[in-house]
Point group: C2
C-alpha cells in the first residue's frame, strides 16, 4: 500500500494528476501561471516533486475552479497565501465573495432546471397521450 497512501512521500506530476484530476499539462500550466503557493521542488534531474500540501492546495484549486472561480482570482488568492500571514481578511473577502457567486449560480441553475423540467413535462405528456397537438411548435 505504498502507491495509494497519503504519505509524506513526494509525488511525481503524473501521480498528482491522478489524485487531482488535473492533466499533467494543466499542472505545468497552473505552475507557470503562478497559481501555486510555492515553487514545486525538483529532483536532481529536474523532475517535479509535489508535497502533500502542494496536493492539498491543488485540491482546493480544483474545487474553486469547478465552482467557476476565474484563474485570475485563484492567482490572487495564491499570492495572498504566498505572501504569508497578515492578509487573512482579504483572503476571507475573496473566498466569501466567491461563495456568494456560487450561491447565486446554484439559484440560477435551479430556476433553469424548473423551466427545463416543465418543458420535459410538456413533451412527456404529449408522448403519453400520443397527440400531435397541444405543443408549442412554430412549424405545426
Amino acid at each position: 500500500m505504498a502507491t495509494t497512501e497519503t504519505s509524506a512521500e513526494p509525488l511525481s506530476i503524473g501521480e498528482v494528476a491522478e489524485r487531482t484530476g488535473l492533466s499533467v499539462h494543466a499542472l505545468r500550466f497552473y505552475e507557470r501561471e503562478g497559481l501555486l503557493v510555492g515553487p514545486v521542488q525538483r529532483t536532481s534531474g529536474g523532475r517535479r516533486r509535489y508535497t502533500a500540501s502542494d496536493v492539498d492546495w491543488l485540491l482546493i484549486c480544483v474545487k474553486l475552479r469547478e465552482s467557476g472561480m476565474p484563474l485570475a482570482d485563484l492567482k490572487r488568492f495564491a499570492e495572498l497565501v504566498r505572501h504569508g500571514p497578515g492578509n487573512e481578511a482579504e483572503r476571507l473577502r475573496l473566498l466569501d465573495a466567491h461563495r456568494q457567486r456560487v450561491d447565486a449560480r446554484i439559484q440560477a441553475l435551479e430556476e433553469c432546471r424548473s423551466v427545463i423540467a416543465w418543458k420535459v413535462g410538456v413533451y412527456a405528456d404529449h408522448l403519453a397521450r400520443g397527440e400531435a397537438d397541444g405543443l408549442w411548435d412554430p412549424t405545426a
Copy 2:
C-alpha cells in the same frame, strides 16, 4: 404602454435584445448558426422583425444556455423543432439528458460550496480569535 407590452407586434432586433438579455450581435450570430427555429421575417428594407414566438424560443434558448447547454445541442434541438412533429421523443431525450446534467452540476456546485464555506469558516474563526496560527498555510 405600446413599447413594453407583450403584443403581436413584431419587434426589432434591439427590442428583442432588451427582452432576452442577448446582445444584438449574439442574436445575429444565433441566427447564422441555425439556432432559431425558423427564419426571422424581414421588413422591405431588410431589417429583422421578430414575432412573439421567436422571442419565446429565444427565452428558452437563454435558459438552456444559462444552464450550460452547448450551442451544438441547442442547434440540434432547433433542428428537431424546425423539422416538425414526429420527433418529440428525441426532443424529450435531449431535454431530459440536459436536465440530468443540470442536476449533476447543481450537486457538484453544492459540494464545492460546502468546501468553500468550510474554508471561509476557517478564516473567519482565525480572524475572530486574532491568531496567526492554526491556519493551513505553507508559508507560515
